[in-house]
Amino acid sequence: MSESQPLSASTTPSLLDRLAAIVGEDNCLSRPEELYTYGCDGLTLGSHAPSAVVLPADRDQVVAVVAACRKFERSFVPRGAGTGLSGGAVPMDGAVVIGLSRMVKIVEIDAENRIAVVQPGVVNAHLSEAIAHMGLFYAPDPSSQQACTIGGNVAENSGGPHTLKYGTTTNHVLSVEMVLPDASVVRLGSAAGFAPGYDLVGAVVGSEGTLGIVTEVTVRLVEIPEAVETMLAIFDDVSDACRLVGGIIRSGMVPAALEVVDRRTIRAVEASVYAAGLPTDAGAVLIIELDGAACEMQGLTDRIRELAAREGVRELRVARDAEERALFWRARKGAFGAMGRLAPDLYVHDAVVPRASLPEVLEEICAIGDRYHLTLSNVFHAGDGNLHPNISFDRRNSEELARVVAAGREMLELCVRVGGVLTGEHGVGMEKRDYMGLLFTPEDLEAMRKLRDAFNPDGICNPGKVIPMTRACTEANPRARGYDEVPL
């Protein structure tokens, strides 16, 4: 993948000067070593340095930055914490990165109406921490919640382990303030939960920063459940763990989380600082978390026990206290960190399949990994059918990198074949843009293009993401093609 030339002060004095005048010298980055950090996000398969990075302090600065980029015909890309895993924040074609990390204000907490208004740079976990004493929390909890921002979550429609019961970001966003690519400001949706007209908030959540830049978000808050019960079901075979997931879904129970950690991940975790005391000869563990009223926990736990026994569970541990609960989760949450022991790089793949097909699909995914001689481990949101085959590799080995990419594609083809989709929570970004044809017809994609064009008609905002750029499309839209060619 090519490295775009950064804008240097000598070639782009006007735009750089303008950007620096808007956000201040300290918040306008243009030195190559500064720009390098912004060349990719959590997807490290490739890097594209931006031409400049600006860190606006408020909405008005975002408006001014967008207007300046527009005037100088330079595309721009919004960025939260850069934890995304599909390259959504990667600046293609020498775009200017607009980092929202300084917009970290929790503007309002209205506990009685169960809503909060936040700026996009607020870290996901910080919101829940700020409202915990009110007995409330913000439900979407991506694994990166200690770092990722709510603005980024809106862009990606982020989920997390507790999506099964609480839904994803789209179920929790009531309204957004947004700077459109023409530098106008709109407020979409309503704190009352209904706004007349098209569901524009629904369209914006998950649009991966291609429709504009969200500068304020009104979210719904949820009451912290009275009781939580966390169990760890240990299996000899990962297929049995998946079958228990199916059994629980079929039984009518809706646990807060159903997470599978496979054998290879267990071993990596147990050899790391995240060790949780899991048996390293186990085929898989399934974390089952129930929450709700204290009075219903015993009955639910008993039913889980019964179902687990039916699937041949080796051992079912029930967390005795918060400390043990945290220990169970450590295996899950520390998995990605632990995999750092296996290889320098980790490709966290993401796909969804019908839950009933999990055992068979997982088997085939492992076979694909073997066929490509890759180190594959699985840790995933089984309750949603959301797989995360993780491939450990070394990106300096181009031959291995090619195998990673080829195996990744084959896994997606498999998932689509059984009725699944390309991504459950990481987004399409640039990673899967060119795989969209596996799932969608040209007509399907054209409908998406209509939506994008209504907001972002000339493609100046986060170009090159989500929708494949067909030749016809590029020809019809020369400005989108030409942003990287316009001298500043």
Partner: protein
């Protein structure tokens, strides 16, 4: 619209669907449209061919599911053809292990609910109009009293097969329960009153039938915090729906009156028992009205010929104020505490068909309340003969973006033109 144009349109549709297109004699007057032609495609291919032909003719259509909500929305502009989705009916696939189902837009909602119930699943769609079709329910996206527990209509939809005005078939989403592959297009179609595309079939996410369901009905004096109690009840873990209406104990409403609170708790038996017990602590339940929460839902949806029905969305803590703003003689109110919605029925107060003084007064009150409380207002039903030019979706913002969408999805404006917010 000239006769020759209509007949050429009918011919074009007949070429596509044969007897599935026919002249309406006499013309049907529906949703403000005078319809002289009807076409009822039997499958996606026919629907696609019909829309392609209609676009070629520049002929606007009124799209219909079961035809039960044709009074909802603004009058259609210049449509002489009715496009009925009733034949796009039936379950396509039901995966009872995974709790998902795909069905045609014309499938009656009641039938769908029965099919999923046979396997222990619950259709999470509970609109006030139970006689509707799946497509119509999604296109109108009006929730009933169980939205608290079942979620809004949009959350039930996993994927849609739509046909655009051009005849292009566009699919979005899929059968899986979690998905961010591409834009969340289904959000655009749901609740758009058929103005962006015609829903052909949909994948829905089902909910398990709860192990236990408890309904509690109480008369609560307003001086004793009926609204606060209703909100607290709606925030109990197993609450599926809570409704408040004028009490039976007194015919006159007012600060001294009482309200009837109906609460439905659904889930695991210990939780529903505990929540019902919590609500009844120190209070006496009244004999439940027949139908429980279903009766509340039916009350919300009951038509009011000649009158006005309005839906008011506010923040939960503003609900009591909204109620106070609107109550009075000839007004029937029904409130849901969370998400907070007030349904108001204004009974016409004059025998003279031409006398709409009452209507002006009602509209004025609604408007004043909208501004003072920051509420969102939709008129669900307006007297047919009402004078004036009322957009029933009040105060729709961002019309520029909405029109930009309409222009791209339906550039010739043939799909339900004028019916939606801003008369899109």
């Amino acid at each position: 619209m000239g006769v020759s144009k209509n007949s050429s349109c009918l011919e074009a549709l007949r070429a596509v669907v044969g007897d599935g297109a026919f002249a309406l004699e006499p013309a049907r007057v529906v949703a403000g449209g005078r319809l002289v032609t009807e076409v009822a495609p039997k499958n996606a291919e026919e629907l696609s061919a019909c829309l392609r032909a209609l676009t070629a003719e520049g002929e606007a259509v009124l799209v219909e599911g079961a035809g039960t909500q044709m009074n909802y929305g603004n009058p259609v502009e210049g449509a002489a053809t009715l496009l009925s989705c009733r034949h796009l009916s039936g379950v396509v696939e039901f995966d009872s292990a995974d709790g998902v189902i795909q069905a045609g837009a014309g499938t009656p909602l009641r039938e769908l609910a029965k099919v999923v119930a046979t396997e222990g699943w619950l259709l999470p769609l509970d609109p006030p109009d139970r006689g509707g079709s799946l497509g119509g329910t999604l296109a109108t996206a009006v929730s009933g009293p169980r939205e608290r527990g079942l979620g809004p209509v949009r959350d039930a939809v996993l994927g849609l097969d739509t046909v655009l005005a051009s005849g292009d078939r566009a699919r979005c989403g899929a059968r899986v329960v979690k998905n961010v592959t591409g834009y969340d297009m289904a959000k655009l179609y749901v609740g758009s009153l058929g103005t962006l595309g015609v829903i052909e079939k949909a994948w829905l996410r089902l909910k398990p039938v709860p192990a236990s369901c408890r309904v509690v009905e109480l008369e609560v004096p307003r001086t004793e915090g009926a609204f606060e109690l209703a909100l607290a009840a709606a925030r109990r873990g197993s609450a599926r729906g809570v409704g408040l209406r004028a009490g039976d104990a007194n015919s006159l409403e007012g600060p001294g009156g009482s309200l009837r609170l109906v609460a439905e708790f659904a889930g695991e038996a210990p939780a529903t028992e505990a929540d019902a017990g919590w609500l009844l602590r120190g209070r006496t339940a009244c004999a439940p009205a027949e139908g429980g929460m279903d009766a509340v839902r039916d009350l919300q949806g009951r038509p009011l010929p000649g009158g006005l029905r309005a839906r008011v969305h506010v923040l939960p803590l503003r609900l009591a104020e909204a109620w106070q703003c609107l109550e009075g003689p000839g007004v029937e109110l029904l409130a849901y505490p969370e998400p907070a919605v007030l349904h108001a029925r204004f009974v016409p107060r004059s025998d003279g068909a031409e006398d709409f003084v009452w209507l002006d007064e009602v509209l004025g009150r609604l408007d004043a309340m909208r501004h003072s409380l920051g509420a969102e207002v939709v008129i669900d039903e307006l007297p047919e003969a009402a004078p004036g030019d009322h957009d029933v979706f009040w105060g729709a913002a961002n019309l520029g973006l909405m029109r930009a969408l309409k222009d791209r999805f339906d550039p010739s404006r043939i799909l339900n033109p004028g019916r939606f917010a801003g008369r899109i």
